[in-house]
């Protein structure tokens, strides 16, 4: 292993994996050229993904997509995922990240890969450009905020409810500059998919990354996708954590983040009954197979409320295909959902499912900011796939725990 560093040290490190998507890569390419970049230092460590407005919605967007394709081809970037392959973070988890890697991405939710034991964090486009040029990046070694979660989750309470509850307590800036480390029996019991949901939202409390110590489940997840164990990552047993927060989730109610901030979290019972116009089951937070299975188990044989539009967007082509094989796609279509190709468009208000002023959206994504989905006068509530699916049936925010078909 490398040299020992202390929190607060400024260090320059080699980057194992750098990702950018169509929202950030075009500006990175521009900066790369402007800083005198000619050849990408390690093209094999670069991943480009077109997912934010995919397929393109206009000629202007198409020009930016083409800029990415041309650059990748010129620089020999083979890890290029074009329209329809999936959400960038999901593709990295499925195909690239290993424990112990240093991963940076031109997207704030890059912190998700902490769930696989990688140090992964979001950066801006010019820093992506600097990594393309030098292969390196500087970091201030962060302090750690340790979050211990204990207790068995009640029925219909999911990892999403756990992380919303945590963010509601820690608040939007409670982990700023810190590496979040999740531990405890509840986290160990969670599947890797559930852990990815926890780590994905570390940035919503300001965290630099959202680490989880790899275990047999992590190794099995990697092995089943043709990858090795990477470098072992273990929390220092004697580490002086900046702070440890303990959570008991054994009686946790499903949680909802009300607009306009992610830390405005309430038990679902406090907002129950609010009429909704659109439900979004998707995003890098909750578009994996387990999320699909859970929602489909609720929707099976039923119809969504006539007033509600429900958009279902899988995280990747792999997830889509598996959902198809398991019959979940049929369940969604029979229930009246709209199925879109994998991507980020709905969550970021780029080109899909933009709500009208005054409408209420219930979303499984990670942000409910004003204007997030493209309309500043619409309200966005965040919840789990279970809450989203049950609420789509009733047409109003509904507690899935008390729901009877």
């Amino acid at each position: 292993m490398g040299r020992r560093v202390e929190a607060g040290d400024l260090i320059v490190v080699n980057v194992d994996l750098v990702m950018a998507h169509d929202g950030t890569a075009p500006l990175a390419i521009k900066s790369f050229r402007e800083m005198g970049g000619e050849r990408v230092k390690h093209p094999e460590r670069v991943v480009f993904v077109i997912d934010h407005i995919a397929p393109s919605s206009s000629e202007d967007v198409s020009k930016l997509h083409k800029l990415m394709r041309d650059f990748a081809s010129e620089q020999g970037i083979e890890n290029f995922y074009d329209v329809g392959e999936g959400v960038c973070h999901q593709l990295l988890a499925e195909r690239h990240v290993e424990p112990g890697m240093i991963v940076v991405g031109g997207d704030s939710h890059t912190c998700m890969h902490g769930a696989l034991g990688a140090f992964a964090t979001g950066v801006g486009s010019t820093e992506v450009a600097a990594v393309l040029k030098t292969g390196k990046i500087w970091f201030k070694v962060p302090e750690t905020l340790k979050i211990q979660v204990e207790g068995s989750l009640p029925p219909m309470v999911t990892p999403k409810d756990v992380i919303l509850h945590i963010i509601g307590e820690v608040k939007a800036d409670g982990a700023t500059y810190k590496a979040v480390e999740y531990g405890g029996e509840t986290v160990r019991q969670m599947s890797v998919e559930g852990r990815l949901t926890l780590s994905n939202m570390a940035v919503e409390m300001g965290g630099k990354t959202g680490l989880i110590e790899p275990d047999e489940k992590t190794l099995e997840y990697l092995k089943s996708r043709g990858r090795g164990p990477g470098k072992p990552l273990k929390g220092d047993r004697d580490a002086e954590h900046a702070e440890t927060l303990n959570f008991d989730v054994s009686r946790l109610e499903p949680q909802v983040a009300a607009p306009p901030t992610v830390d405005n979290v309430k038990p679902v019972s406090e907002v129950e009954g609010l009429e909704i116009d659109q439900v979004f089951l998707g995003s890098c937070t909750n578009a994996r197979l387990e999320d699909r299975r859970l929602a489909a188990s609720i929707l099976k044989g039923r119809k969504i409320h006539p007033r509600v539009r429900m958009l279902v967007v899988p995280a990747s082509r792999t997830v889509y295909l598996q959902a198809l094989r398991e019959g979940l796609v049929e369940v969604f279509l029979e229930a009246g959902c709209v199925l879109c190709n994998p991507g980020c468009g709905v969550c970021v208000g780029g080109h899909q499912g933009v709500p009208a002023p005054g409408e209420v959206v219930l979303s499984t994504s990670n942000r409910n900011f004003v204007g997030r989905m493209g309309c500043p006068e619409a309200d966005i509530y965040l919840a789990s796939p279970a809450t989203a699916a049950v609420s789509a049936l009733t047409g109003k925010i509904t507690n899935p725990a008390g729901w009877k078909p």
């Binding site: 500006l27 934010h52 407005i53 206009s58 031109g106 486009s125 010019t126 800036d173 970021v348």
Partner: protein, 167 residues
């Protein structure tokens, strides 16, 4: 480096979707065009009202949310000379330095400065002078390594000249 201008006040948790909405930023690299929409969720006329050299003063966690570098870039495009906040979200802080937009953490200045105050910031000395109120606030100066990037006008110029990090 000294910056002097008129203060514009904003509250806590000003996120990147407020600074520049995702519905615009994916469509162009033309920052002048994007800058017209800066802060429009809070003040649709903001881009017309600010003058080069003006200063943003905000509460805690300024720039939280997305990693979009377009956020500091559009503010720089409008001529904002420095952002003073109680605290910053970390990706925004890095991005601001990388595009050559100074960022200063000062809970005191964030609380004391009112909209319209004339303010002067000395980045090296770590001093903020409120010329309207006749007050002075100090802040922990920006680390020298980052100051070097700022003096070059951002990471693009820094790496164009140096070729690699000199930290």
């Amino acid at each position: 480096m000294k910056v002097k201008g008129q203060a514009w006040k904003f509250g806590d948790d000003i996120n990147t979707d407020i600074i520049i909405s995702g519905k615009y930023k994916f469509k162009t690299l033309d920052m002048r065009e994007l800058a017209k929409h800066a802060m429009e969720a809070l003040d649709p006329k903001f881009s017309e009202k600010v003058k080069p050299g003006d200063i943003l003063v905000a509460g805690k966690n300024f720039g939280c949310g997305s990693s979009r570098e377009h956020a500091p870039r559009v503010l720089k495009e409008l001529g904002i000379g420095v952002i003073i906040a109680k605290s910053f979200a970390r990706i925004f802080y890095r991005n601001a330095v990388n595009v050559g937009l100074p960022v200063v953490e000062s809970p005191e200045a964030s609380a004391r400065i009112s909209e319209g105050d004339q303010v002067e910031v000395d980045l090296e000395k770590g001093l903020i002078r409120n010329l309207t109120k006749g007050e002075t606030y100090s802040f922990k100066p920006i680390p020298p390594a980052l100051m070097e990037i700022l003096r070059e006008g951002g990471l693009v110029e820094y790496l164009r000249k140096a070729g690699d990090y000199k930290l």
